[in-house]
Subunit: 450 residues, 2 copies
């Protein structure tokens, strides 16, 4: 091995369990997830030359330890690799990582093992962008179409999109790229807020939050629904009375309904003119979503889903079956940037708008890069698209996102915006970080190893 | 709490990582999984009165440790429960186990967390059958339709089947039940063998195995395909020359193909008259399977899948979309007996034959119970149905399966046939069992904690 290659070897893969005690307030609550403790599995890859890449996946607290165990089980595949060899044939490396002939049984490509894959893969992208001294979105924009496509494993996708079709889409995406680069630097990318509508909020909390975001210039608001129809009606009545009818309203049921129930319930709420109903039923139910899309179309309500869609094969079917009007990719559930690029390309081909899921820990930081790349270099359009925004936990990052006039501004720092502050790691490592030790002592949480 | 209830409390939930070094031979190899070390996660529930229930899920070796971690994370939900309270409203308890508001994020209901759920739930059923001193299949047969259905969580299924429809199917299933009880005791349930067709086998190994099973009276043989068309042709030519054309042949690609590739490849192999092609493509691709079903129907080839189908919602769609001709439930991938009962009921309603996936560790032991219940009390038919059989690892169980005239004979011992011998646990616990220590010492395996 050459001296240079030796310096670019991955010499350590560390993983940390980071949790924030968000269940103390009702922030983040919805019909399905009453008391989340927003958490992340944080992976640090280190090269012999000292450079580091950071990647993460998001969870709701308990279960974070299982994903940590999965990273431990995957890490031998990454350790000792020369990083530049990975980037030369990234699609192939992604397949190696997801196809270990024994490990794949416990997925394949879904759930815990795929969340762990995502944290590792995201760290590889962060490191790549740092090596090239570019923010990730800009790295993606600058990759030649052939190079970008070489990062994708097209297995199981060929009946919707081929490698060549993907290259063609990316070549087409170059028309007007320079103008869009200027526009994104100047205006950023539209955001919507979820923060006026947590299901655990009182009327007063909702009012206060909605007014705050109106003043900040937000024009699109998402509200959780699905616990109780009467309460939903009250909540939507209230939110419309605050934001008015010229603003955009979306509602989110977090998987609470049966297929017919979703149709019936949303028919009752149609009067409030929601742009979309998000996660009306099981995230695995492609055909169920297709039925809901069909039934709600005449009412002018779209269907959004994707944050819990387990991999590109499920996304492919949602697109093939007209089962989603809005494709809500998540940056950390499917296997990292490589697989997400495949979803963007399929959505582009099928002319479905991508509106990323965000919030949690680090999701906003990551999706902004992906969506900006899509605008600048693929779909070429912001029309009818927005990025979810939740204004929490950004202070824990070295380079937190920047919102201006209700728009995400393009990140400037090299990397994927996924590096946590050292102080945060010391405070929120679970269960031995200083904040957690204090919470245990106060009796607010009960210490476990889970 | 009453004295009786106190005695029926679950006082411990233990979990063990058990692995067998099967990668030394090529047994179990296929186009996707070259070198499995057949393994299981083994859960022991203990009541205060000393009774024990044993449940397991199967994996291919690495990754077993992640499922162990997931059992550890789930076990608080089970610990301290009075077992009879669980059985009184088992469907509800199943939902509690699968819907922890934080843990569900790392699934939901799929992959690692669902494999862990399965091991715990299977232990609960083993214990129930032991308490009632019946083999599990007989417990299922003896449950009143309403009682059996109360074990099932129908969430997300109502657009295919409702609770009441399920009860009706079970009531109809009672016609002629006594006769079928006698028949099953007398003749058992037909098995087929997979053991002549591992992809790592030489011609000689294949011949030897096929002849052995022919002599044992087997009439149905499954062969792995998909690595190389030329080799597949040779392999199928060979197997037909041994078993003749009056016997049943099935082929299994273990997810290796794209959709169109599956159709083209199988068109080439149609001349060998396979009854089914198993797992032609991604186990998540409902619509892809539907396309393959449609294309292969004129050639007389059915499509079988299900061993990696992640939950009842996926199964529902496979059935709704005519995407499977044979439904291959697995006893340990979806969330244990409760969820599998839902799949049998849906398959019955949709008139799709269930032919369980087996082999591995404990899968044959478990599925025999389920399939016998289906015959005696639900579908009422063995027509065109068989249970997979692999004659390995049965010696590790207290009550191994019994095959007579190529048929599974009904288990007689109380429970779910999932209790491992103490000696096996001591030898094959990973990484500190005596067999493993010896293998490490011989240098045949390298010791890790994964």
């Amino acid at each position: 091995m050459s001296h240079t290659a030796e310096k670019l070897k991955i010499v350590s893969v560390d993983v940390q369990d980071i949790r924030f005690p968000t269940s103390i307030s009702a922030h983040g609550s919805d019909a399905m997830h009453k008391d989340p403790d927003y958490s992340c599995v944080y992976v640090t890859l280190k090269l012999r030359n000292g450079m580091e890449g950071h990647g993460m996946t998001f969870t709701l607290g308990r279960g974070n330890e299982i994903v940590v165990a999965a990273v431990e089980s995957l890490k031998d595949i990454v350790l000792g690799q020369v990083i530049t060899d990975i980037y030369k044939d990234f699609g192939n490396f992604w397949r190696i990582l997801t196809s270990d002939s024994q490990l794949r049984w416990v997925g394949p490509e879904k759930g815990v093992i795929h969340l762990a894959t995502s944290a590792i893969v995201n760290a590889l992208w962060d490191l790549w962008a740092k090596i090239l001294k570019k923010p990730l979105w800009r790295l993606l924009v600058d990759l030649e179409p052939e190079q970008l496509v070489s990062c994708i494993d097209f297995r199981y996708l060929s009946n919707l999109i081929t490698k060549n079709e993907a290259i063609e889409l990316l070549k087409k995406g170059r028309n007007g790229l320079e103008t869009r680069l200027e526009l994104i630097e100047e205006k950023g990318y539209p955001a919507y807020t979820t923060q006026a509508g947590w299901i655990g909020f009182t009327d007063h909390q909702m009012s206060e939050a909605a007014n705050k975001y109106l003043e900040l210039g937000f024009t699109a608001f998402k509200v959780k629904v699905g616990k109780n129809l009467y309460e939903d009606v009250k909540r939507l009545e209230k939110i419309r009375s605050i934001i008015g009818w010229d603003k955009t309203l979306m509602v989110d049921a977090n998987q609470i309904w049966e297929v017919q129930e979703a149709i019936d319930w949303m028919t009752q709420l149609a009067v409030y003119k929601p742009l979309w109903i998000e996660e009306p039923t099981s995230p695995d139910d492609v055909l169920g979503h297709a039925a809901i899309v069909k039934a709600l179309k005449p009412l002018g309500i779209g269907v959004a889903t994707g944050e819990m869609c387990c991999n590109r094969v499920l996304f492919k079917q949602f697109l093939q079956a007209n089962a989603m009007d809005y494709c809500q990719i998540d940056s950390a559930r499917i296997g990292g940037v490589n697989e997400i690029l495949a979803v963007y390309l399929m959505a582009c081909k099928m002319k479905v708008k991508v509106c990323p899921h965000a919030g949690g820990i680090g999701l906003c930081e990551m999706v902004q890069h992906l969506q900006m790349w899509d605008y600048v270099a693929l779909s070429g359009s912001k029309q009818g698209r927005m990025i979810e925004f939740v204004d929490e936990h950004h202070e824990h990052f070295d380079y937190p996102l920047v919102i201006r006039n209700a728009c995400y501004m393009p990140p400037k720092a090299p990397g994927y915006s996924t590096t946590l502050k050292q102080e945060t790691i010391l405070k929120y490592s679970y269960p031995n970080g200083s904040e957690w030790l204090a919470l245990f002592q106060k009796g607010l949480f009960f210490k476990t190893n889970k």
